[in-house]
């Protein structure tokens, strides 16, 4: 089943009803620290992975996720519609990641940064399946994904990752990227056309069935 965005759009709820998430957000907006902590617990893994997919360094991903939630903590009162929390959160996250990548490029240009993308996965536990075979598969997967993503334009890449790795709906992606849904669909269509031609990656993924 293609991801349709996580449960935050409340389309199946009766009018006037509020989801648990919206109640939690409303409490966090009112200054309830416990509610904010619950909100962080719920979204911390998603945001950590979202950042990791883009920076490919676990330590940087943790630092950035920390920064992102600090911004969320400061600005949560400015969120008008709690049902739009997820796209709002991803907008903050995406901006922070872009900012980080811009600074990193700047440092690289002026020679302040010597290392490339560092995958510090060895430093962190990878889910609960460690082992040499798992590490080989992981390395192979990221290498093929990286090769595919490098063939996409910036927007195609971002839309593809948001849709299939971050599991956002088309509507949420449009909100996060500040573009119309038809634009998002066009970029997604182009990315998928390239994906079908990526036999190495598609072969690996079909083998997972």
């Amino acid at each position: 089943m293609i991801p349709t965005g996580k449960k935050c759009n409340n389309v199946t709820q009766p009018a006037g009803a509020h989801s648990d998430l919206e109640i939690l957000i409303a409490r966090a907006q009112a200054g309830d620290r416990q509610a904010f902590d619950n909100l962080v617990d719920r979204f911390w893994p998603d945001i950590f992975r979202m950042v990791y997919y883009r920076v490919r360094s676990a330590m940087d991903a943790e630092d950035l996720a920390q920064d992102i939630f600090v911004v969320v903590f400061r600005r949560i009162k400015s969120l008008k519609d709690p049902s739009r929390f997820r796209p709002w959160l991803f907008t903050i996250a995406l901006n922070r990641v872009r900012d980080f990548q811009r600074k990193k490029r700047f440092r690289e240009v002026f020679g302040f940064f010597t290392g490339g993308d560092e995958d510090t996965v060895g430093y962190y536990a990878v889910s609960d399946e460690p082992g040499p075979l798992h590490n080989i598969m992981r390395q192979d997967f990221w290498e093929r994904v990286g090769s595919f993503l490098s063939k996409l334009s910036r927007l195609e890449k971002e839309v593809f990752i948001l849709r299939f790795m971050d599991q956002l709906s088309i509507g949420e992606i449009a909100e996060v990227m500040g573009k119309g849904q038809s634009t998002i669909k066009t970029h997604l269509y182009r990315a998928l056309t390239k994906f079908r031609k990526e036999s190495r990656l598609v072969g690996l993924l079909e083998g997972m069935e």
Partner: protein
């Protein structure tokens, strides 16, 4: 290929079906609903794309740290509020000023008298040097200078030439004559 009088979906239409099935033309959509072959093709691509997300999550590290608020992060929770931050900044600035401009006093309590003594000594020295300079210029006290009339008459070079004519110049003139 044909299926019940309808054409199977093209690759592009299958791709578009994954972007948004509702955007497909009505006959294409109806064909997809009842054609197992096209559904299978769509399902295959759909599964591959779902696997991208699933594997990406599986092959991502697990975060070790939990979120820390700014207060926890700095370990000085109370100091983070703007009011305390202002007070802290002012206190720090004051301490630095004292350290820079008056720091010596804090560590050398006797230095004030030492500095005063040195200053006094320097003042005495300069007073003495002023007296020496005055004597070099005019060895006689001012009162004697007035008695002599030197205080009144301007002793410029013309006046001195008038008083003591240049002997060498005169000799040269007399030789020529």
């Amino acid at each position: 290929m044909m299926e019940g009088g309808n054409q199977h979906l093209t690759e592009d239409q299958i791709t578009w079906a994954l972007v948004d099935e509702n955007d497909l033309p009505e006959p294409v959509k109806k064909h997809l609903e009842r054609c197992p072959f096209c559904q299978e093709r769509k399902h295959k691509l759909e599964t591959s794309l779902n696997n991208v997300g699933e594997l990406a999550a599986r092959f991502s590290p697990v975060p070790r740290r939990r979120f820390m608020s700014e207060r926890e992060r700095h370990g000085l929770g109370w100091a983070i509020s703007p009011w305390y931050r202002g007070v802290l900044t002012a206190a720090l600035a004051g301490f630095l000023l004292v350290l820079i401009f008056g720091g010596g006093r804090l560590w050398h309590p006797h230095s004030t008298s030492e500095i005063t003594a040195v200053m006094e000594e320097m003042r005495e020295d300069s007073k003495f040097m002023a007296e020496v300079d005055a004597l070099v210029e005019n060895p006689l006290p001012q009162i004697y200078m007035e008695i002599l009339g030197e205080g009144v008459v301007e002793l410029d070079m013309d006046f001195m030439d008038f008083l003591v004519p240049d002997v060498i110049g005169t000799e040269v003139q007399s030789t020529k004559a």
